[in-house]
Symmetry: C2
Subunit: 344 residues, 2 copies
């Protein structure tokens, strides 16, 4: 029976005291039993009585009180650059599930533009969180330097010289994209991606270029553009303006893929007949015209691993950089085809 304690929005909760009274022992005994504290001797029957009482009263320890004592909040912050990017939804999902399993709550923060202060700073300042997962991929967004104090953190979706990171194998993704295009018979390739300031772009580009080298094919055209739909649109425009237009391109983010495809269509360039296009996967890629062949990255797993790693940092370990050991895989759809025979 929950009875209201008084003020609005407040409830009477079952406390350790209630359980102690019900079991006829001291609160500290209850605490120790419920926490399996090994430094105390309690008779099995007492233990049982306490457990039963706690169950009966539906006791849930108050994370607030616990935090006050332990100095840890049991919450983790997650910082995203842009909540509307579908990529982050997946990362968020993985992170929030794993966090829940580990007993953490997830506090959300979005990095506003340069000028508006973001809430993550306050989250740290107030010690509302035990650590921060940083999912911004640009090097210049120096999130940590802005913090008034040091907080445990891990980067995800990017590496950083400055702290542990959890990423997927972006290089393999780049490589796989090139190999797919190469296998279809293309030899003049293009890589469309963000500048090297964006760590994911750097690694995807690296993999792509290396695969080209290894195949003994000319260096791919390298088009740099922000990881947005508009960026992809523009990039495809400049790609098609080239004297010798490549026959296969890798749009190294889903958003860029969508933008690129739209630009190709606007220019009347048929995909895949005139140009093969491959991108990164998300459900959207299945519903474009034509459906985009794409490389799926284990983003959910990355989010989960990031939380796991942060948990270890919070606990005082010094984990190293982690690459999620699930390789990117190719989803074949309709945007890759052999190049048109020369002369047609």
């Amino acid at each position: 029976m929950e009875t209201n304690r008084g003020g609005p929005g407040r409830y009477r909760r079952t406390t350790l005291r209630d359980v102690a009274a019900a079991a006829g022992v001291d609160v500290s005994t209850v605490s120790k039993v419920l926490n399996n504290n090994s430094r105390i001797n309690v008779r099995p029957e007492t233990r049982e009585r306490i457990r039963a009482a706690a169950d009966e009263l539906r006791y849930r320890p108050d994370p607030v009180a616990r935090s006050l004592r332990s100095g840890r909040s049991g919450a983790l912050g997650m910082l995203f650059p842009d909540l509307t990017n579908p990529v982050y939804g997946l990362i968020m999902r993985g992170a929030s599930q794993r966090a829940s399993e580990l007993g953490y709550a997830i506090l959300l923060a979005e990095l506003g533009d340069e000028n508006t202060p973001s809430s993550y700073e306050r989250l740290v300042e107030e010690h509302r969180i035990d650590g921060l997962v940083i999912a911004t991929s640009r090097d210049n967004q120096d999130v940590i330097a802005k913090l008034p104090l040091e907080a445990p953190h891990v980067y995800t979706n990017r590496r950083s010289p400055e702290g542990p990171s959890v990423t997927v194998d972006d290089e393999a993704a780049g490589r796989l994209a090139a190999e797919t295009l190469l296998a279809a018979g293309h030899t003049r390739l293009a890589f469309i991606g963000d500048s090297d300031e964006t760590d994911t772009a750097r690694r995807r580009r690296l993999g792509f270029v290396r695969a080209c080298e290894e195949a003994g094919v000319p260096d791919p055209v390298d088009i740099r553009t922000p990881y947005t739909r508009a960026g992809g649109f523009e990039a495809m425009g400049s790609l098609l303006d080239l004297d010798e237009v490549p026959t296969g391109a890798f749009a190294s983010s889903l958003l860029v893929g969508i933008g690129s495809l739209a630009a190709a269509r606007q220019r009347g360039v048929a995909v895949p007949d005139a140009l093969s296009l491959i991108t990164l996967d998300a459900e959207d890629a299945e519903y474009t015209a034509p459906p985009l062949s794409a490389i799926r990255l284990p983003l959910r797993e990355m989010g989960a691993a990031a939380v796991e790693t942060l948990d270890r940092v919070v606990k005082g370990e010094r984990p190293t950089n982690l690459v999620v050991p699930i390789p990117p895989n190719l989803i074949e759809r309709e945007s890759v085809a052999p190049p048109r025979p020369a002369g047609l």
Copy 2:
């Protein structure tokens, strides 16, 4: 100078005690001054001294300690059915910004499938949050009934007989879609949307149907399908199988719009030449083939208003249902055109 307090992940923070010592007064005095407690008399110069010390030491009250005393956590939960749906990104953004302004942190929860327990229940059970914004739109997801105790909450993106809600004017959106199609000269219309269990679908459908009635045009074909890309794809399939295919359709969610468009293309039905299609807006709609004319809903504002409303519930008010007073507006792109002259 922050010095570590001991355990991993813990910092020495500036406390009220530090400020009190620096200002040469009692902690309680500091607390009262900093909170502008009017029930106490403090000399202006003492007040000043305290303020200066707090500033100097960069004092930030510990929300945890504060929570313990006040019974309020200063955090709000946000429950989403699906983090990867771009719609929620926008709502989230609005909510998180407003929350930050109001001094709340936002705790994230995603409603898993029916079987997996969702973290929001624990958030409430543990009193980690002062209230819950519920952004699930289906009636049968009875989130609140599952809770072990009553928690302040507001629904957003849907109405509920059971608590206050914050929505956009979905009916106006439906109406605007119909009017747009009607204005282009269409008379055989279709509405594609989720079942009436989904509140947004119900209201959008209502607006659409009413506008048709008022225009004296036959009742629109009513196709029911889940608010997903796959749902849209399938719905368009059955629409095109009709004996008399409508010439204008409203796909009443962005995802459905994207799926519908893909299906039309697969069937070789040209948009807008053979079929005019209008949907709800998000950046994606700009990059489809053809770009989709769409109706923009003030989702960010809705998220912000939901948090604002929840804040009032938390403070004990009983706010009524709110419809965000920004009307949906039409973004004209390329998917709506006059119907083909009969006989062609």
